[in-house]
């Protein structure tokens, strides 16, 4: 197990994939950039990383807004919109489409996603 930014991850994970899977806010692009910054090749596994590299990776990740912080930012933004009484805020609160989609028929995505404590 390797401890990265407070999360224990199994050794056999490929570094880039592990970052993408375990951290909200890291996708293919951010993961590739993080790896490039520390000269970690695209097929490197966590087991092959040295201790200084793991520390450096954790340090680089501490500069980013990830996980709960990022989710908090999202909910804060939605709450701000709602408090201002904007159309977008209201539609989010109602769980309806925000960008002018019709609501006569299916609005599955909006029902699933649009709410004030949106999951991401």
């Amino acid at each position: 197990m390797v401890l990265i930014s407070g999360i224990n991850i199994l050794d056999q994970w490929v570094v880039k994939a592990a970052l993408q899977y375990h951290f909200y806010g890291i996708g293919p692009n951010v993961a590739a950039r993080l790896c490039a910054k520390l000269s970690i090749h695209p097929t490197a596994r966590l087991s092959s990383l040295s201790h200084p590299t793991v520390t450096a990776l954790t340090f680089e990740m501490s500069k980013l807004k990830l996980d709960t912080d990022l989710k908090k930012e999202l909910t804060d933004n939605l709450e701000r919109l709602r408090d201002l009484g904007t159309y977008r805020g209201r539609r989010h609160a109602q769980g309806l489409p925000v960008r002018g989609q019709k609501t006569k028929k299916q609005v599955m995505c909006a029902r699933r996603l649009n709410c004030l404590n949106r999951r991401g």
Partner: protein, 466 residues
């Protein structure tokens, strides 16, 4: 007395109408009542659910509602950590790269051995020779044999000597010549070129065979693609201002040591090399190389020290070979800290090889040999540089490519002649690959179908007919 039947229609009541001794052949179990409008058989239906009632049931419903507040919310599947992997890490690659050099089921073909005495002799052109057993281990260590070649079909690994092989053989004989004046340099640079399946890698293996027999130091990068596709560790080395691949270099040093252990074991270093954890300078070059194998952190320094040692006068000749040159004439898959692609020429190993190929660095006696690649299709700059074609006015030109191969001679592997096709077919026939007899007609037919390409010829002969 009342009538038992209806007097109007004279029908009997249902009970009396039924046969008295009715036999039920397939007694059905008690089954649930099916829905009135369904056409599906009630037998196919699932058993009815137990009707729960009471407080426990209400509690379960409440708990369910609590957990799934949003019916569109799907839980992420948990990874099954306990599941056993089908293959260990790296096992599939080992299977894929496994080289089989001998087929014990194939008949033995008596062929002359490819010894040093035939090196560079024109009369051997068009003859099939078998590679001597004494060099097989070294060649295998150097990665001279590739998967997808004809080795697993024959009892002994054998190859055809062609015009290109003779040309390279002549160079090796020229460098091997005795009685060279002191200070005279005998260094050659060649690039093997040809179409797909024209036998560039085989000629490279033949050159290595003769070099090992001549007691040269042979350094070979068997597949340049491994250096650039981003599968090995890399880091920037400020001392060399290059990106070094320490793990790959350590593995390369291991292969060099395995293939040249006797030659390197005899050579003593000229300079002191106190590297890594060793306190004393190694007594032989083999020990120096071993330091790099043991400690990958200093493998690049050891490799450069080895090349420097071999570049001093009085050393045995060196064969520096690389297969798939096209792969290192492109930007690599690696990225620098600013997320820019690293050019293959900025990687330490390709850079070192190209410095020897372009003549910037030289051995006093030696041969640098590269083979172009057909797998890599985007090497327009290299193709133009080799053929001397001018670029179009709107072409994006990579200036570094032409400089990297400047002055290196081109050895073109042309298509096989009819005599060579006949020699190969006779060998295939004796080796059990080709069943049909070798006649003028069959040779002409195979020559026409394969258009003189060795790989195509082998495939056509191998294919079962009728």
């Amino acid at each position: 007395m009342a009538l038992t039947s209806c007097w109007r229609c004279l029908r009997l009541p249902r009970l009396l109408n039924a046969p008295a001794n009715r036999v039920v052949l397939h007694p059905l179990p008690l089954r649930p009542r099916s829905a009135p409008f369904t056409t599906a058989s009630a037998l196919l239906a699932n058993p009815p659910k137990k009707q729960n009632s009471g407080q426990g049931h209400q509690k379960a419903i409440m708990a369910k509602q609590k957990t799934t507040t949003n019916k569109y919310h799907h839980k992420k599947k948990k990874m099954d950590v306990s599941a056993k992997q089908l293959f260990e890490i790296g096992e599939r690659k080992r299977i894929r790269k496994n080289i089989v050099l001998s087929n014990t089921s194939a008949p033995v073909v008596p062929l002359p051995e490819m010894m040093l005495d035939i090196c560079g002799r024109g009369e051997t052109e068009g003859t099939v020779f078998q590679i001597p057993d004494s060099v097989l281990d070294s060649l295998k260590a150097l990665g001279a044999f590739k998967t997808g070649q004809h080795w697993p079909y024959f009892q002994r690994p054998s190859t055809l000597v062609r015009k290109g092989s003779v040309e390279i053989g002549k160079l090796i004989s020229w460098i091997n010549e005795e009685g060279i004046a002191e200070g005279e340099e005998r260094y050659a640079r060649r690039i093997l070129d040809g179409t797909r399946g024209s036998g560039r890698s085989i000629v490279l293996a033949q050159a290595m065979n003769w070099a090992i027999q001549s007691n040269w130091v042979v350094i070979a990068i068997p597949d340049a693609q491994e250096l650039v596709i981003g599968h090995t560790e890399y880091e920037f080395d400020p001392a060399w201002s290059l990106w070094v691949q320490k793990e790959y270099t350590a593995a390369l040093l291991g292969r060099i040591l395995k293939a040249n252990s006797t030659v390197l074991g005899r050579l003593e270093p000229v300079e002191d090399h106190k590297m890594g954890k060793t306190e004393t300078s190694p007594s032989t070059l083999a020990k120096l190389v071993n330091i790099g194998v043991q400690d990958p952190q200093i493998s690049n320094d050891v490799f450069m020290a080895l090349l420097k040692e071999l570049s001093t006068p009085g050393r045995p000749p060196v064969l520096f070979a690389l297969d798939n040159l096209g792969q290192i004439s492109l930007p690599s898959a690696y990225r620098d800290t600013a997320f820019e692609l690293i050019h293959a020429h900025d990687l330490a190993l390709p850079n070192t090889f190209l410095s020897y190929l372009s003549g910037a660095s030289r051995f006093p006696r030696g041969l640098t040999l590269a083979a172009t690649s057909s797998v890599c299709s985007k090497t327009k700059d290299l193709t133009h540089a080799l053929r001397g074609v001018e670029h179009g006015p709107w072409d994006k030109v990579d200036e570094r490519i032409a400089k990297s191969v400047e002055g290196a001679g081109l050895v073109e592997l042309e298509k096989l002649s009819k005599e060579e096709v006949k020699a190969i077919m006779e060998w295939y026939n004796a080796g059990g690959v080709l069943r049909q007899p070798v006649t003028i007609e069959s040779v002409t037919e195979q020559y026409a179908i394969s258009s003189g390409n060795p790989k195509e010829l082998f495939r056509n002969c191998l294919r079962l007919k009728y």
